[in-house]
Symmetry: C2
Subunit: 467 residues, 2 copies
């Protein structure tokens, strides 16, 4: 007998199947009923909705005792139009096989309404809940949207390395890797660890960004994007930080500032539109259970032109607000790195729409950003969103070898390990630009979830690396 | 003036653009000509082919001195039908801007025909060659094929963790991660390193497979796949091993052996067909320059039904071959793990088509494979390909808690860190199956490249972690 996924039976036109025998498999969400009839809500993960299985208790008396929340079933029976509300079709059970029981005494997911904190403690099972099913289906869809967006526009997916011996300086946030015995590493005559004997022959860490290698891709293949895990051992237990997260970093040869910001806006709207077009069942659930403003907020983003706002103008707006009596916790003046409260004021109160801020003071941005002729700003771009703040950071890159090296020297950077990067400016240098998006930031926005630990299957944070 | 990517001008119908001014940007591959005319072959990475720029030396005398191999140009001029053979259109230069020079004295990529070894030494620049351009465009396309294949079939992309505190036993191949100062780690009273003070609060390593976590996904979402980096610090300098490689691991609830092998075959054919449908320019280049049998071999795979071959039958075939005088280096008898020579004999000489071998002796396969009723074989599957041998390894998983635990005990495995995994069998256990594909193995097959270091942008091998 043919097995159908529950999504197919609930979403496709199955009128030709009505009255025929079908097979469905899945996990029991609930069982209810009385001595005359039993209703089993079965879910197989393909969709947030359950299919209703109707069983005759007199016929399945012994089996139904084993049908408890979390048990896995194979049900064969007739597909019929549903008598009740809430679903179009249901299955009248003719045969029920219990693949796996779930002892109600020990199975942790008994009732609805577990707290997010509790569900994090049973992270291996929380995927079986409606909320995490919805989040994970959305996560897949956002990844698919990203790959499709770039593929359709002629970008190439480019795998930058995870192990990196480059720039091990910002050591506080870097995770060191080794295959040496940490208790007894080989040591040289100076008593220090002999890293030449380590697997990679030198002190090696995990990447914190693929951008610099991504520039190698863009300056040969034209347009590339990365999409891979990134590691930052920030010792901050906040709802917005993970030690292991996924990042998307497109890099485009020959793009200038206006093309960069246009791509950033087009990209984020494409992802949000994909969610609305492909994931409405899950969004409706999250809108109802997690964040009542979610769908409205998603719709507003795709219907709005993002503001382009030079940093200098942004500061004026904020200073005006202060002059008119608005209180910020942190002071505002030209040159400061904007705090979250400043960004949110601009986005949520002043413009009431997403803002792409451009032309930042060079002192608060990275060395590789293209220097403007004013000698004090660089062509950096931050895309600022309601609720979550910065969702994308990007820039035009400085393509002048001389200017780039001068800036690195000004910052006291060690150029010795960076010659490969400087070769992009030494040989056939080209104007180029790129941006980075933390995938989980996007996930927070499209799901309405409040904690970044709840939009990735297995969060890694200080003191946590379960499973 | 509108800039066009070179792929667009060479592959699309541009008849309406003939006679109009266009802008092209890219890197100089070659310059040739005489005192009356100069031909510049310009490449922008969008396609393997170059567009020909025709320039009048008397008009661009000074500029042309700076137009050398590797230089980056912006060219504006009239698009015309090409007089020469080899391309349909060319650009008559009216304006040439040199974005970046490439000093012929120091730019390493001067002539054609660099060895692969030399190109590995300048891994940051090899991406600018035709060969690596072709390989990287194919790499993108194979990734896109994989995501599209699974998306169309209702699988969800599932990110398994990279940091893992689980199963740190196979320590030889695992890469340890830490944020402690390796020279002076904090130590406990027993003199040993106090891992509780490390970032994750315990001894932590990088994952060598996402399968076990993937099973958590499949037993809640139904069908998932992973596609991410995997780390194995094997100290083997071979053309087939990388310390950092990308792996695809689908996992499907309710799949049985025949459904698993059908999916494996469908999957690999889909990828190969995608390459033939989307990448013929690059394949033709590789077929000409790297492997003359490439395209024929790809075509033969998609036109062939793969053989299903129980291990026991495979052994009989090999024993028959030995009896008839065929010499193998390694002995053959029931129970041995087949060597590459055995697999290649079956695939290339006996069947002359891909083989999916099934039902292996349990002693040579992993603990989680479903045990057959014969008590000596398990439902493992290896997909064996011409030239490269095993390309996919998969299995039906043992869903019985009792059988799984008995096998773990038999193997002396420590179950203490595995309770989360055993919960999949403890609560709502279901039949399920999955397989794993090393992405770079697939890349070797579809490119004809001989060394796995040449199908990933930045290979990580013992003593090598440049860039």
């Amino acid at each position: 007998m043919k097995r159908y996924e529950i999504k197919y039976l609930l979403k496709e036109d199955v009128s030709s199947l009505i009255g025929t025998d079908v097979c469905v498999k899945g996990w029991v969400r609930t069982k209810r009923g009385n001595k005359n009839v039993a209703f089993i809500a079965l879910n197989d993960g393909s969709i947030i909705h359950n299919i209703q299985v109707v069983a005759d208790p007199s016929r399945f008396e012994e089996t139904l005792k084993r049908v408890t929340t979390g048990a896995c079933l194979c049900v064969e029976g007739k597909l019929v139009e549903s008598q009740g509300s809430g679903q179009a079709v249901e299955v009248q059970a003719e045969n029920i096989i219990v693949y796996g029981e779930a002892d109600p005494e020990s199975y942790p997911l008994q009732k609805k309404g577990h707290s997010m904190e509790f569900l994090r403690e049973i992270g291996h099972l929380r995927l079986r809940t409606n909320t995490f099913g919805a989040v994970m289906r959305l996560r897949h869809n956002m990844a698919m949207a990203i790959h499709t967006f770039f593929h359709e526009r002629g970008f190439f997916y480019f795998h930058t390395p995870l192990f990196s011996a480059s720039d091990c300086e910002g050591a506080g946030e870097m995770v060191h890797v080794s295959t040496l015995d940490p208790e007894n590493p080989p040591r040289g005559n100076d008593g220090k660890i002999d890293w030449e004997q380590d697997f990679f022959g030198k002190f090696t860490a995990l990447t914190v960004s693929g951008q610099l290698e991504g520039e190698l891709g863009a300056t040969s293949l034209g347009k590339i994007y990365t999409f891979g895990p990134t590691f930052r051992a920030e010792n901050s237990n906040t709802p917005r930080h993970l030690a292991e997260f996924w990042m998307i970093e497109p890099e485009m040869a020959f793009y200038q500032l206006d093309e960069l910001t246009a791509l950033e806006e087009e990209f984020i709207k494409y992802c949000v539109r994909w969610a609305l077009d492909h994931c409405m069942d899950d969004l409706e659930f999250l809108n109802k259970m997690i964040d009542n403003g979610l769908i409205e907020r998603l719709r507003s983003v795709i219907d709005t032109d993002f503001v382009r706002l030079p940093y200098t103008e942004g500061i004026k707006i904020l200073e005006d607000a202060v002059a008119k009596g608005h209180k910020f916790e942190f002071p505002v003046s030209w040159g400061v790195d904007l705090a979250s409260e400043h960004e949110r004021y601009l986005v949520e109160q002043h413009f009431k729409k997403p803002v792409i801020m451009i032309d930042y003071p060079k002192e608060i941005k990275a060395f590789y950003m293209k220097q403007n002729d004013d000698c004090r700003t660089v062509q950096g771009t931050d895309v600022l969103f309601p609720q979550i703040g910065e969702i994308i950071g990007g820039s035009v890159r400085e393509e002048s070898y001389d200017k780039l090296v001068a800036r690195m020297d000004e910052l006291g950077m060690d150029r010795s390990g960076m010659e490969w990067y400087l070769d992009t400016r030494r040989f056939g240098s080209c104007p180029h630009a790129g941006f980075g998006l933390g995938f989980e930031r996007l996930m927070l926005f499209v799901t309405g979830m409040a904690n970044i630990r709840d939009v990735i299957p297995f969060p890694r944070t200080p003191k946590t690396a379960e499973f």
